[in-house]
Amino acid sequence: MSIQVQNIHKAFGDFIALDNLTLDFPSGELVALLGPSGCGKTTLLRVIAGLEQADSGRVLLDGDDASDTHVRERQVGFVFQHYALFRHMTVFDNVAFGLRMKPRSIRPSEAEIKRKVHELLQLVQLDWLADRFPAQLSGGQRQRIALARALAVEPRVLLLDEPFGALDAKVRKELRRWLRRLHDELHITSIFVTHDQEEALEVADRVVLMNHGRVEQIGSPAEVYQQPATPFVYGFLGAANRFEGHSSAGGIAIGNATLTAEQNGQHGEVIAFVRPHELDIVRHEFGHGIPARISRVLTLGALTRVELEGRDDVAGQHFDVELPASHPLAGSLIAGEPVRLQPRSVRVFANPETAGAA
């Protein structure tokens, strides 16, 4: 089922959580709402679920205006960050809850409920835990039970609020893959909220990047990573070195240094981003490139990470460079050595703070 959000506005006191937001979630996709904390992504999810009321705007479920429909009639499945399992009920009773709460006329028989609950527990591969209590389960198991519980009422959409946020890194990775496989089996329209860019890029069909209650970019994981539409997106997705400078026919100048001599179509004050693996270290104290000094060299597996500090015009700034550990320079760089940085690839945006327009 498709979800449309039209001109949704929501403020908490002076804080604007959702700023006139309009979005389309096509049927059957797994979409990630990605952004830093406080960007409004959880509020948007709760507005779609009906747990939060928007100040203005509409939520359409399957084309029908659901703005005035109560949560319990919206037929959404909701998974909470902290599981919200009923702690006094067994796993079985938790999953059966939604079915048992149905009005008597449409409530399935106890035998039917039993069959269905076991089917769902098998789907989340935890059938053997049916008689346990939530407190006896690990975090990953709890979240899978929470998912089974949400699926029991056959929701039209599945909404997940930072579903893996409370789990440790390893379990998180496993559950991500598992969620992706589950979605490929069920094809239920799903939205999940996360602040972890790796999680969003790995799991979702589409990523919606949010900041300050607005959408910054929508696209496939590859699109948003490779063609970030705004400085915010570039900075948020993956590590990036940020340079503020002036763009002209002669390239980009930062103070007296030249970042790149290439033309980039922008004129005036700009922000330039360079990924750590696209920045070269040149062993000259003077000449082309950005002046810097090596502060630390760290080799982890196949990668050597070099941390640098700016000199002269860029003093006080920090930069990161990544080299293959097999690179000729990797073994010989010494902390304290003055070098220059030359980018192989630069992504340039007009500077919104000084240019006036984004």
Binding site: V71, F80, A84, L85, F86, H88, M101, A135
Partner: protein, 293 residues
């Protein structure tokens, strides 16, 4: 309270942990001095009086003891005490749940006032509570003349005693529930609503089971207070033998009449009630701690 009692059990483990570490272990003499002071105090001021009550009650033999309990005035006092408890405890149950629910789940003007009012019976002397009812309901009071016209007796009658008992027991249930409901937050209830549960279903299947031990704990304490209350009830009772005497008042009358054995026999009933309350309370704490593991 369930959270607090669970904490008590956790503290037991923590104390063992602290003792097992050299860095936090105290010298033996420190440990036993502190323990000695605490136990001596406990023995002199709590255990000894309790023992005296039973010893005095049985000083003149079982026969006198039983006679004092089955005597009509004593039986009437037992009945009145039970009646006051049977009316005030359910009232407090309903009021306590409603007040705790309102305070933790709704935003409204005067919330702080309600919280303060719930504590009022703790902070005001019970005698003052009794006097308030006398001032309002007695024949010289505000609505006394009206009551007299309609032949309704409140002061120096059973209704007055029930009112005074309700007043002094108001805080117990609400005070147990408020911190627990606050700590639990709304997520489980939200989950239930999303799954299609209606308001009363959420309350019955999710909220209530989560606070059941704290609720029971509040009821037990409120019951103990209802049966043991002296001050407020004494003011409104009028001490009419066989009619408006509760157990504590009956004890006082017997004692003033130098019937010591009888006084202590009736008092031993109240002491037994206290022991039963303590036993049930410990059992609830144990269950609550289990429910939290």
């Amino acid at each position: 309270m369930a959270a607090i009692t669970a904490n008590l059990y956790a503290q037991h483990d923590r104390a063992a942990l602290l003792e097992s570490r050299q860095a936090t272990r105290e010298a033996r003499w420190v440990k036993y001095t502190i323990l000695g002071v605490a136990l001596t105090f406990f023995a002199i001021f709590l255990l000894l009086p309790l023992a005296v009550v039973f010893a005095e009650a049985l000083a003149k033999g079982w026969h006198t003891y039983l006679d004092a309990l089955v005597e009509p005035d004593a039986l009437s006092a037992v009945k009145l005490t039970l009646l006051a408890a049977v009316i005030s405890v359910p009232l407090n149950l309903v009021f306590g749940v409603a007040a705790a629910w309102a305070i933790t789940r709704f935003d409204f003007r005067g919330k702080q006032l309600l919280i303060t009012l719930i504590d009022l019976p703790f902070s005001v002397s019970p005698v003052v509570a009794g006097l308030i009812y006398v001032l309002v309901f007695s024949s010289h009071g505000w609505i006394g003349p009206w009551l007299l016209e309609h032949d309704i007796k409140v002061i120096f009658a059973v209704p007055g005693i029930v009112l005074a008992t309700v007043f002094v027991t108001v805080p117990f249930v609400a005070r147990e529930l408020i911190p627990l409901l606050q700590a639990q937050g709304r997520e489980e209830e939200e989950a239930a609503v999303v799954l299609g549960a209606r308001g009363w279903q959420v309350f019955w299947h999710v909220t209530l089971p989560n606070v059941r031990w704290a609720l029971l704990y509040g009821v037990i304490l409120s019951n103990a207070r209802a049966m043991g209350e002296f001050g407020a009830v004494s003011v409104v009772s009028g001490h009419i033998r066989g009619e408006t005497n509760t157990l504590p008042l009956h004890v006082e009358i017997l004692y003033n009449e130098y019937q010591f054995a009888a006084a202590f026999a009736v008092a031993s009933l109240l002491a037994l009630l206290a022991l039963v309350t303590l036993a049930v309370k410990s059992w609830i704490e144990w269950r609550a701690a289990q429910a939290h593991d």
